[in-house]
Amino acid sequence: MAWLWQWHNAGLSWLPFLGMVIGAIVVLLIGLGVVTYEIYFERKVLGWMQGRIGPNRVGPLGLFQSFADILKLLIKEDVVPEKADRSLFLLAPVIAFIPSFMVLAVIPFSRTHVFTANLSIGALYYLALSAITIHGVMLGGWASNNKYALIGGMRSAAQMLSYEIPLGLSLVGVVLMAGSLNLNDIVSAQRTWWFVIPQILGFLVFLVAATAELNRTPFDLPEAESELVAGYHVEYTGFRFAFFMLTEYLYLFAMAGLAATLFLGGWLGPWLPGWLWFAIKVAAFIFFQFWLRATMPRLRVDQLMSFSWKVLLPVALLNLVITAVVKAWV
């Protein structure tokens, strides 16, 4: 069967095309499965850290809780506010969702990366596509015709744009070290040591910027519940709301995958199969995000901006300069 997935060095004919379609569907299903259990995992971890037991009613240990939630969202009435900008309102979740799924295409899940593309500009591709989601979020906030949603959408746009820059710069260090933008090559370049060690500064910047990009605590201002009720998706219900949720958690997965790939050696690791190593690293990153959420209060919007421009950006640049100098002289 493996020949079906070797599309990246064959010309486009119907067989590889079929492979692509099947691959996309498989990745989508993996993504959905991961999201389902991400949410379950999040609720369990938060529950445990807070003296609770988390979901436990639907299925054994509450394992089917997320399915029940998704089912509930899907069969709920789809409300479009009368005063909303209807077409944009309907379009926004889709715009937000599609890139979040597309970025999964370049993440090498395992040694053979059977379902994913071996793109030579993988890192750049990720950054470029993830930026599109901002439009969906902003349009959603705008089209809802709700003040809270608007503020949420605006905050979201400002935040994601500001943090995209340190995020990109922190990647550049890794790219310099690996000498390639191809995520597979970057993984291969980490055979001696994981880039988290030489690139510790870059990793810290990446960690903060990634948290902000994901709109997660302490950077969850766009959906600050206590201030903006729910932020940009306050007017969304049913499966449109589910799309926003899906986007968020898919990005969490993708970002965890990116972090694992760039800094933690991707699927590299002794004894265990590659995909398992990858899964462990992704899970560790995701757990860290949940742990943060259990501990941290939220930043204020002006502090958020100044933190990005005044702290993260200089540190990322410094890291870049150091990496370049070391790379040139050593």
Binding site: L46, Q50, G51, K147, L150, V229, T295
Partner: protein, 377 residues
């Protein structure tokens, strides 16, 4: 939506003001409280609190109730510190009648009141941190509060609306073993206070959000009639337990923690410190409490207050909680006025909010520590 920037002739960005209606149903208004905020971008130009959504006319209702019957209504004012409300009312009536309360009852009252203060402060810390975006403290505080509430449940039979104090004493004596449970609670709570200190106080984001936010000075606070922690956070030493000792507070050794800057952080930290002081009082009261004795003084069955006007205030969980009773000699008050600390403290809010960032709104409102049941009465 005409809130986006419009371009005028000089091609300068002009923004339009927007009226944002925070509440009546909003996650961080802690009840049904509405705040009309005029904002430009995210800067607050003006704020107008609208209250009364929970107005039940307690003062009017009380005019038709006998003094004993009013006690359950006081439970429902500040429902997070019902013991203190109970006491404040009973104390006012006792002052008016010059009733002597038995020793054991006084000690039980003090233990209960200080435990209630801890429970109320705990909830403040939890909700305040929840407002600022940290969700774990909210769930932690409920675990400790649950222990207090369980103790209250054992002694009074209710978890929230205790109706436990009586004019001239308390309703029941403590059940056997109850005082030992309180004794065991004190060191447990000390540990927990330490835990909160390390969980919250050092967090840089929390400090950034609260330091220097919502600052006012002692003069302003006094002019606006603020009381409790809201006043003490400015460094002004005013605790009624010290300044006008009621009950038996003059027998205990405790400190009155004071703030320095009058900002939200001081208000948070004073809540934490006061819990420690309350524990000290509980500890001393447990040592001094007589082993036996009556818990209800000699009170006539039907209480009639001689005609006149009576006011007495106590240090509630949120500030000075006072009851003003006008009596015409009958068994029902002619007029009952409640001096509601949250109500008075809330007045400063518009002034504090002007010129602030939207996100500070939550930090400032949360630190004022209001309970809508009390604000609206």
């Amino acid at each position: 939506m005409r809130t986006m920037a419009l371009l005028d002739e000089a091609n300068q960005v002009r923004t339009e003001e927007m009226l944002l209606n925070v509440g009546p149903q909003h996650p961080s208004t802690h009840g049904v409280f509405r705040l009309l905020v005029k904002i430009s971008g995210e800067t607050i130009l003006d704020a107008d609190p609208v209250i009364g959504y929970l107005h039940r006319g307690t003062e009017k209702l009380a005019e038709d109730l006998q003094y004993t019957q009013i006690i359950p209504y006081t439970d429902r004012l500040d429902y997070l510190a019902a013991m203190l409300n109970n006491y404040a009312f009973c104390h006012a009536v006792e002052e008016a009648l010059d009733i002597q309360v038995p020793e054991r009852a006084e000690y039980l009252r003090v233990i209960l009141m200080e435990m209630q203060r801890i429970a109320s402060h705990l909830l403040f810390i939890g909700t305040y941190l929840l407002d600022l975006g940290a969700m774990s403290p909210f769930l932690y505080v409920f675990q400790e509060r649950e222990r207090i509430v369980q103790l209250f449940n054992e002694i009074s039979g209710a978890r929230l609306t205790y109706n436990f104090m009586r004019i001239g004493g308390v309703k029941y004596d403590a059940p056997p073993g109850w005082l030992d449970k309180v004794r065991a609670f004190v060191p447990f709570m000390r540990e927990k206070i330490k835990m909160y200190d390390s969980l919250i106080t050092g967090n840089e984001i929390f400090l950034d959000r609260t330091r220097g936010v919502g600052v006012y000075d002692a003069e302003t606070a006094l002019a606006y009639g603020m009381s409790g922690i809201n006043l003490r956070s400015t460094g002004f030493d005013w605790d009624l337990r010290r300044k006008k000792p009621y009950s038996i507070y003059d027998r205990f050794d405790f400190a009155v923690p004071l703030g320095q800057h009058g900002d939200c952080f001081d208000r948070y930290y004073l809540h934490l410190l006061e819990m420690g002081e309350s524990l000290k009082i509980v500890e001393q009261a447990l040592e001094q409490i007589p082993d036996t004795g009556p818990v209800l003084g000699k009170v006539p069955r039907l209480i009639r207050i001689p005609a006149g006007e009576y006011y007495s205030g106590i240090e509630g969980a949120r500030g000075e909680l006072g009851f003003f009773i006008v009596s015409d000699g009958k068994d029902k008050p002619y007029r009952l006025k409640i001096r509601k600390p949250s109500f008075v403290n809330l007045q400063l809010l518009p002034r504090l909010l002007r010129g602030q960032n939207m996100a500070n709104l939550i930090a400032i409102l949360g630190a004022v520590d209001i309970v809508l049941g009390e604000v609206d009465a």
